[in-house]
């Protein structure tokens, strides 16, 4: 490390006195111009060379260091008349309100002053915050008569942002300053201004510091034109008005003109500090764009704090569109060759890797496993060119560092925004591939919440051995299969993996041995000995399971019958795996799907992450091989139901509608029995909703009769691969009730939703019940109601993301320094205890069984299987 390490023991915040500003200033700035005709900076102008240098070649006239090393020097502008600093306008107002207008003492009697003094001293000693006490003093110290000189006090108001009005007279900044000057040091302390670091009158500017040019660099456009920074523009304005004000005052211009110019100077200085101060029209650039002045540079998401200090731009990173590649392992990421040649890994040259590294340099920066830079032990960085690579190789010695291209097997960090949980940044192994997109295994889509409709992701290359080692053991994808959110797998099979596994393992799925071997080859699984017999899909899948695996669970396709037939389940949904053999049941979402995979969960917890990665890689590939063998497609034909079913559904809906009519009739005749705690209207609404809900479900059931397990859409819905039965019945049978604000639609026109209905009509159609199915098509009224419901959904998601984003930010800020210690206490960075036991039970949810400490059912089942042997 270069430089001297020092520990900060204290930071003082105070105000700068005019003397401080002058002392700090290297030059007075007088001329509002920046450069002369020849393009040289004008002396005493805003670009005065004494304010520092930017060009690396030049030496600074003030400090003598070269450009880049010189951090710049402040100048100053003597203001012709004092102006109020916007940031302190409130403080000035409060101070004036609490001090005497003639003698400048604080409006408290001697007793109170003594009292508060003691309190403040004590709090200083205890290093407590005095903010609340000061706030209290400001409310107490308001009297009509000064206790010291008996002067009657006038009411002082603030006219935002900077005008201070006493009675009907507007005080000039000079008058304000005079009053503040009169406040004795002892009284200023009580008013919250520590005389050791500040004086109240310093809140009124008589001299303005001019920041060095390094803070407001000018840009030279391609045309050779110079473009100045916003701050420089603002300072030019200030100087111009200041000059005019001075000239007018010296010429003895009328009071009115001077005052006008003074106001204008105040405006410019105000907007120089804050161009978004309330009550002031923002100063604008010639193009009409508001200027970005001091406060705007710091504030908000794009401000200095959030954009440059809390977060920074980094080197050795890449970003591009992502696309899927089922042939990669979940641990891998496909990196385009163009990127691999740009981002590099520093490698120390040793005797043992000399030859290898020479090869990289020989390849140069343009051929893939090449190198871009060589860093000598004296920290000189030499770029490798086609022409220079031979001389570089000659000079290469152990101890050099070579920045070589990214190559297969390197560890990189892969990330997709928004990074909401730790699985949003995982370490992957590089696989350099052609074309221009990052490639990733489909199983890692759920943790990143990625899809391939144009999503982009970022990649970062580790630059030290330590970071690589740490990432490899803590951040690798396989270490994150189990989510700490619910103690189950978050990485797992999706979509076709699930449908494919179902097609393979369902009852009656039999293959010839050649087919089996083809699929195993595709899944890159070692081939077993030939048997010459046909295989079932279950036998095939068993090859992937660990030999001593024992799991029993109910599959996703389980119908939740009243009495479970267990192994005799006619849906084949009771999964039994004994000693790594799938005895019964089908493989679906519950087996190895993301968020719910039981077998996967078991393998991670019992056999470790390596085995789990292996299983997941081969199982997904096998499922894909299987789905390709069988063929899988879906279209609206899958939601076709016969005419007879249509008629039955229509009949059902008609009946439901007449039941609704009867309910409305009963309501109108006051015959409705209100539910407990509900009004008549609410009761009616609830009953109607219930009837219509039932009607939709019933119509769905009718449609479902015609949906067999040969139907691909149904397979996807039932196995949990994609979509739901509700989706299908809405397409085939009936869309059902549309809702806005959690109830039937009732807004729109007065007492009716649309002018097609009677006022006060309560029937099913009039309140947004959609009889049609998506496949039939919605009639115009239904379509409109459907759009209403859809709009609400969109608005809700938009609001929810904004709200939860803000909540997340607050939470992260509050919790960022907390950590779990080896003794399982949770502490912050000062060692203060937050919890004496993490989560009160000391359990890591990622290593628990779905959040519980122990899954007794599972343990019992395991023991039962073991003992029965």
């Amino acid at each position: 490390m270069k430089g001297i390490l020092k520990k900060i023991s204290q930071i003082n915040f105070g105000l700068m006195s005019p003397e401080d500003i002058r002392k700090m200033s290297v030059t007075k700035i007088v001329t509002p111009d920046t450069y002369d005709e020849d393009g040289y900076p004008i002396e005493a102008g805003l670009m005065d060379p004494r304010l520092g240098v930017i060009d690396p070649g030049l030496k600074c006239r003030t400090c003598g260091s070269k450009g880049g090393d010189c951090q710049g020097h402040f100048g100053s502008i003597n203001l012709a008349r004092p102006v109020i600093h916007v940031g302190f306008a409130d403080t000035i107002h409060k101070t004036l309100r609490s001090t005497c207008r003639s003698c400048g003492r604080v409006l408290l009697d001697n007793n109170e002053i003594k009292n508060y003094h003691e309190k403040i001293e004590k709090m200083f000693k205890n290093e407590e915050s005095v903010n609340n006490l000061i706030k209290e003093i400001y409310t107490v110290a308001r009297k009509d008569k000064c206790p010291h000189c008996e002067e009657e006090q006038e009411d002082i108001k603030i006219d935002k942002p900077v005008s201070i009005v006493e009675g009907n007279y507007k005080l000039t900044p000079s008058e304000v300053r005079e009053r503040l000057e009169k406040i004795p040091d002892e009284d200023s302390l009580i008013l919250g201004v520590n005389p050791k670091v500040a004086r109240p009158e310093w809140t009124i500017l008589t001299v303005l510091p001019v920041p060095p040019v390094t803070v407001r660099p000018s840009i030279t456009l391609e045309t050779g034109e110079r473009s100045e920074d916003d701050l420089t523009h603002k300072l030019v304005d200030i100087l111009r008005i200041n000059q005019r004000l001075k000239e007018n005052m010296e010429a003895g211009a009328p009071q009115l003109i001077v005052e006008d110019l003074w106001e204008l100077l105040q405006y410019h200085v105000t907007t120089y500090f804050d161009n978004e101060a309330s009550g002031v029209p923002p100063a604008r650039h010639r193009s009409g764009r508001p200027l970005k002045t001091l406060a705007q540079r710091l504030k908000g998401k794009e401000g200095r704090f959030r954009s440059n200090l809390s977060g920074k731009r980094v080197n050795f990173s890449a970003r591009t569109v992502i696309s899927p590649d089922p042939n990669l392992s979940i641990n891998e990421v496909g990196v385009p060759e163009i990127i691999a040649k740009e981002v590099t890994v520093p490698v120390y040259v040793t005797e043992w890797n000399m030859e290898e590294i020479k090869k990289y340099i020989q390849n140069g920066p343009k051929v893939h496993p090449g190198a871009n830079y060589v860093i000598r032990p004296d920290e000189r960085k030499i770029r490798i060119y086609e022409e220079t690579k031979d001389t570089v190789i000659e000079k290469l010695e152990p101890g050099f560092i070579v920045e070589r291209h990214l190559k297969d097997g390197d560890i990189v960090l892969f990330n997709r925004q928004p990074s909401l949980h730790r699985m949003s940044m995982m370490a992957h192994e590089v696989k350099v591939l052609p074309y221009k997109t990052f490639r990733l295994n489909l199983c890692v889509c759920p943790p990143y919440n990625a899809d391939f409709d144009g999503d982009e992701m970022n990649m970062h290359v580790f630059q030290t051995e330590e970071s690589r080692a740490e990432a490899k053991s803590l951040m690798r994808v396989q270490e994150h299969i189990l989510s700490p959110r619910f103690g189950g797998p978050i990485i797992g099979g999706i979509h076709d993996h699930i449908s494919g596994a179902y097609l393979l393992t369902r009852e009656g799925s039999i293959f010839r041995e050649e087919e089996i071997f083809q699929m195993l080859k595709h899944a890159k699984v070692p081939l077993p000995k030939k048997t010459g017999k046909n295989w079932t899909g279950k036998q095939l899948f068993s090859l992937l399971l660990p030999d001593d695996l024992n799991v029993v669970y109910r599959a996703e396709i389980c119908r939740k019958c009243d009495e479970c037939l267990k192994k005799e389940c006619k849906n084949d949904s009771y999964v039994v795996i004994e000693d790594g053999v799938l005895k019964s049941g089908v493989i679906d979402d519950k087996a190895y799907g993301a968020f719910s995979g039981k077998i996967l969960d078991h393998i991670v917890k019992e056999y470790g992450t390596d085995r789990a990665r292996e299983f997941l890689d081969s199982a997904t590939k096998l499922a894909i091989a299987g789905i390709m063998k069988k063929g899988f497609t879906t279209s609206t034909n899958d939601e076709e139901i016969p005419q007879e079913a249509r008629e039955r559904i229509e009949e059902l809906l008609d009946k439901a509608e007449s039941r609704v009519e009867r309910l409305i009739e009963a309501y109108k005749n006051d015959e409705l029995e209100p539910l407990p705690g509900r009004s008549m209207e609410e009761t009616l609404e609830m009953k109607i909703m219930q009837v219509l809900g039932e009607a939709r479900d019933k119509s769905g059931e009718i449609a479902e009769i015609y949906f067999g397990m040969e139907n691909h859409a149904v397979i996807m819905a039932v196995t949990g691969a994609r979509g739901s039965m509700l989706n299908l019945t809405q397409i085939a049978a009936c869309v059902g009730q549309q809702s806005v604000r959690g109830g039937r639609i009732k807004r729109g026109y007065s007492e009716r939703t649309l002018p097609h209905f009677q006022k006060g009509e309560l029937g099913a159609r009039a309140r947004g019940f959609v009889h049609s199915s998506y496949k039939q098509g919605l009639d115009p009224l239904e379509f409109f109601f459907h759009a209403m419901g859809g709009r609400e959904g969109l608005v809700d998601t938009a609001i929810r993301t904004a709200q939860s984003g803000y909540m997340q930010r607050r939470l992260v800020n509050a919790l960022q320094d907390l950590s779990v210690n080896p003794d399982r206490t949770v502490r912050d960075n000062r060692g203060i205890i937050i919890q004496t036991m993490y989560g009160e039970d000391g359990v890591d949810p990622a290593k628990s069984d779905y959040g519980k400490v122990v899954d007794l059912d599972r343990i019992i089942e395991e023991i039962r299987i073991k003992s029965s042997k």
Binding site: T825, R830, I832, I833, M837, E840, D841
Partner: protein
């Protein structure tokens, strides 16, 4: 009419620890007294059981994860 807040089902048991118990807790957690979680002296329970600033309270509450959980709090000044 005054209700006994200590009997309310949402108020966990608070006990003032003796000096020796405090030492034991501090040793067990390997901390300074000031590193304990705090409780305000105007906390209703603190007033009810008449704990003094500097006392350490042992709080036993129900926990959805651990069943029963014990924590400690230092009464502030």
């Amino acid at each position: 009419m005054k209700k006994d807040i200590l009997k309310h089902e949402l108020v966990p048991d608070h006990v003032i620890l003796s000096k020796s118990d405090v030492q034991k807790v501090i040793k067990e957690l390997n901390i300074h007294l000031e590193q304990l979680p705090k409780i305000k002296p105007d906390d209703p329970v603190v007033k009810e059981i008449e704990a003094k600033p500097g006392d350490v309270l042992k709080i036993m509450r129900k926990s959805p994860t651990a069943g029963k959980f014990v924590t400690y709090r230092l009464v502030l000044e």
